[in-house]
Amino acid sequence: MGNLAPILPEVILGIAAIFLMLFAAFARRGSSATHWLAVLALLGACVALAGAPQESGRIFGGMFAADGFAAFGKLIIFLSAAVAVIMAHGWFDREFEHSGEYPVLILLSAIGASVMVSATDLMMLYIGLELQSLSAYVLASYRRHDARSAEAGLKYFVLGGLASGILLYGISLLYGFTGATSFTGISAAFAGGSIGFGLIAGLAFTLAGIAFKIAAVPFHMWTPDVYEGAPTPVTAFFASGPKIAAVLLGTRVCLDALGPATDQWRQIVIFAALASIVLGAVAAYGQTNIKRLLAYSSINNVGFALVGLAAGGQGGAQAVLFYSAVYVVMTLGAFLCVLRMRDADGRPMESLSSLSGLSQTQPLLALALAMFMFSLAGIPPLFGFWPKLMVFNAAVDAGLLPLAIAAAVLTVVGAYYYLKIVKIMYFDEPTGAFQRVREPVQTALIVACALFVSPLGYLLINPIGRLAANAASIF
């Protein structure tokens, strides 16, 4: 049993998932008990995270690490999963009967994601990734009678399968040339001898597979379609938990397993970072659907996180972690606001033009969304500015000044479309009002997220910074 203590959070979630599956089968239809139990399980897992021994090192033959880095990532994942479950409350009840499986799938996906951030072996990495992805495919097509949702699921599945194949190919190459699947072994092999073409190819394929999950350019194509088609709570979850898991997984792979080959992967990461920032900013211009727009925004933001990764070292990892934490709050906040966009019959609305004049019909909602937008754009005094600064700072410290300058200048390009949303809400005349929704928990979450991104968030710099520094200290 002592051996299981480090994976206590996963155990809790696993048991909860199985129990809830049975519970949902017998529970009254439309009952929201499953949702709240799932939230409870996720919060319990967060508590277990604090209780689990952090310095237990690697277990299961060095395949799994329950260290500070993993704990930081899991905290983000579990909390965002909990928010995703809360978001679904009142969403599916209304238009979809089988809401019981939703929290179960989210739980399973969260387990997969948490295995991803803990993986210190290519096999474990793959298991976590697939567990997370398979649940995600189902979630994307959750509203199976809706053509867009079904399309999203299928598209995600096919492209995701392809990405998994590429990843496996990369893994096989790495294994073939180093003779090891554990990160330590690979790292030793890279440090040991000259780095041949086979290793480089393996490295590139592995990173490509991970880049797909992160939705970094040039492996981003699925993102807008899937984000648009999937039900909004699912989209919010995709944009937060699993994405962060993949970013952190990439961080661990690059800094741990491929640490000695920094020069080789750095070019790839820099390219992916800049390309993501540019494409995320430019492609969002013509969008009229807010979910598509947020998809591009997530591509854009992940590019900035990758800038931190490119910087490498402890400072870079710290910046990535900080960025992830703040990004998740901003994104979830924005999606919580999107959830409120319903027409008079309660049907969801997604077009940007439906937001017009929101500041006059629902000023507080507009204010919150405007704060998230400015924050995502990284405009001070909102808190979204700080992680961008950390990322630039990491790049400057690592001697990548041109990268920092390029990324900083590109924030201006990205700012344009965030401003566009603010413009629509504040400058345009109202065309119609949204239905008012009574969801006190969601409202509280919006308020909490808004307070987090407000200048009050700066008070959290030290606590989050300490956690991130502790988490990054393993590299």
Binding site: S359, Q360, I379, L389, N393, V396, Y416, L419, Y426
Partner: protein
């Protein structure tokens, strides 16, 4: 002092229009009184930094560090003085969404005070950039027809300039290990690095200032913004650029400044002549004043990079004076705009007949903008040009040309608006200033005259700080070698008198 407007802004959001107006007015007046207390409590002979407070927020990067020196004090005074006037100017002009409007203005005020009081690099940046958001909303929501284009242009232009500064700040922190402004002001960066840092800061401040050729956002923003927005934009936001030069560029990068002053002079010369000529042909009053702002700011850059006491003190006075005068001119435009709802010069005429009070005040401010002795404009421009002349004759020649052209376009504007026959019946029917408008314009007029007649009261708090900047520049930059200065004070004075005489003749 920063928190008071923030709370007031929050309060405004939750009340109705009339109450919001009173809250905003009360808060800004209270801040003005606080400003006066600050001024009274400031000891010009005392320490460089007074009223210092410091709390660590973000580890080694970010500190909540505030404190002011004489220069910051005067600029804060300018902000808190103009703010109640802005609120008053919007009393009736803004009818739509008043609570949000007042909240945006109060937020703006908090950020402006923060910019001038910040003692930490990143804190400065946060305040500096934060000002974009309320201004974007003010232009975009309550602006004119082309407001959306103007607001985007304003936002993106300024942001683009600033991000380079941000990276430069990070480099500075990485090199020196601190973000503390007073420490950095005495820190010697390697000359090669200084060069790049200077350029990055220059990019930001030149846009904010604005200098030619990055001034194009300004006319749009001014024309589209509501009157009070223009006042704040011209009165205070433009001063942030000048403040940045004197707080960062000169003391932190003295070598680079000594090396790059020709660039500043060339750009300023072009700006002065070019924008003055552009101003001459404007048909829109606000646009004319906007272009004149660009020209006046060129005096500031001239003076600041003259590396001598007259130049820098003159530049500071020009900043204060221009803040008041251009603010007042925008208010004057606002007064007649509220009556006629057009800014086209051709629609007016003969206002001296039916609006005598207005004509007198407008004349006063026109003269101050021209630089008539006895008004604040004269003191600043005269000193700035004296300083310029000591460094570069050519610079002084262009600057003087600017003064002549300035007189031309301002007097031409005044002539078309106030004299002759009223060109439309509406213009003839306009009534003179209301008591509210008197209350707004009279204090500015008083201060303009005060500054023109006894500038010492405004210069005294800044003198020691200018001295410190000079010491910093003199000590590290052997600028004397690279300057084509004649070095003869008698000669400089003689030349300056000549200019002064030329001006009096206008």
């Amino acid at each position: 002092m920063i928190f008071l407007p923030l709370f007031a802004a929050l309060a405004c959001l939750f009340v109705r229009a009339e109450a919001a107006r009173w809250i905003a007015l009360g808060a800004t007046l209270a801040l003005f009184v606080l400003g006066l207390v600050l001024w009274a409590g400031y000891d010009p002979a005392g320490a460089q930094w007074q009223f210092v407070e410091r709390v660590s927020v973000g580890g080694r990067y970010l500190n909540w560090a505030l404190g002011i020196d004489g220069i910051a004090l005067m600029l804060i005074m300018l902000s808190v003085f103009l703010m109640p006037i802005c609120i008053g100017a919007s009393w009736r002009a803004i009818e739509r969404r008043v609570p949000e409007y007042m909240a945006a203005f109060l937020l703006m005020e908090a950020l402006m005070i923060g910019v001038f009081a910040a003692q930490d690099l990143l804190l400065f940046y946060i305040f500096f950039e934060g000002g974009l958001i309320p201004m974007y909303l003010i232009i975009g929501i309550w602006g004119g027809v082309e407001r959306i284009k103007a607001s985007y242009k304003f936002f993106l232009y300024t942001l683009l300039g600033s991000v380079l500064m941000l990276v430069a700040m990070l480099v500075m922190i990485a090199t020196s290990g601190t973000g503390d402004i007073p420490t950095l002001m005495a820190y010697d960066f390697a000359p090669g690095l200084q060069y790049w840092l200077w350029l990055a800061f220059f990019a930001s401040f030149a846009v904010k200032m604005p200098m030619w050729p990055v001034h194009t956002w300004l006319p749009d923003a001014h024309v589209q913004a509501p009157t009070a927005g223009s006042v704040i934009l011209a009165g205070v936001l433009l001063k942030m650029g000048g403040y940045g030069f004197i707080r960062f560029s000169l003391p932190m990068f003295p070598e680079a400044s000594a090396q790059l002053w020709p660039l500043v002079f060339i750009l300023s010369s072009i700006a002065i002549v070019y924008t003055s000529l552009v101003a001459l042909v404007q048909a829109d009053m606000k646009k004319l004043i906007a272009y004149s702002s660009v020209a006046h700011m060129a005096f500031v850059t001239f003076g600041l990079f003259a590396f001598n006491r007259q130049g820098i003190e003159g530049a500071l006075i020009v900043m204060l004076s221009h803040g008041l005068v251009s603010g007042a001119l925008f208010l004057c435009v606002g007064v007649i705009y509220d009556r006629m709802h057009t800014r086209e010069i051709a629609k007016y005429g003969g206002l001296a007949n039916n609006m005598p009070g207005y004509a007198v005040l407008f004349l006063l401010f026109t003269m101050a903008a021209v630089g008539l002795p006895g008004t604040s404009g004269f003191v600043g421009e005269f000193l700035a040009m004296m300083g310029t002349y000591a460094l570069s004759t050519w610079g002084a020649i262009f600057a003087t040309t600017g003064i002549i052209l300035g007189a031309a376009y301002m007097l031409y504007l005044y002539w078309r608006i106030s004299y002759g026959e009223a060109r439309t019946a509406d213009a003839k029917a306009m009534t003179d200033l209301t008591s509210r408008e008197w209350l707004l314009l009279a204090p500015i007029a008083a201060v303009v005259l005060w500054m023109g007649i006894y500038p010492e009261s405004f210069m005294a708090p800044m003198r020691a700080d200018v001295g410190r900047v000079l010491a910093r520049v003199e000590r590290t930059a052997p600028a004397g070698d690279s300057r084509p200065t004649r070095g003869n004070p008698a000669l400089a004075t003689a030349a300056a008198t000549e200019h002064g005489g030329g001006e009096a003749a206008h």
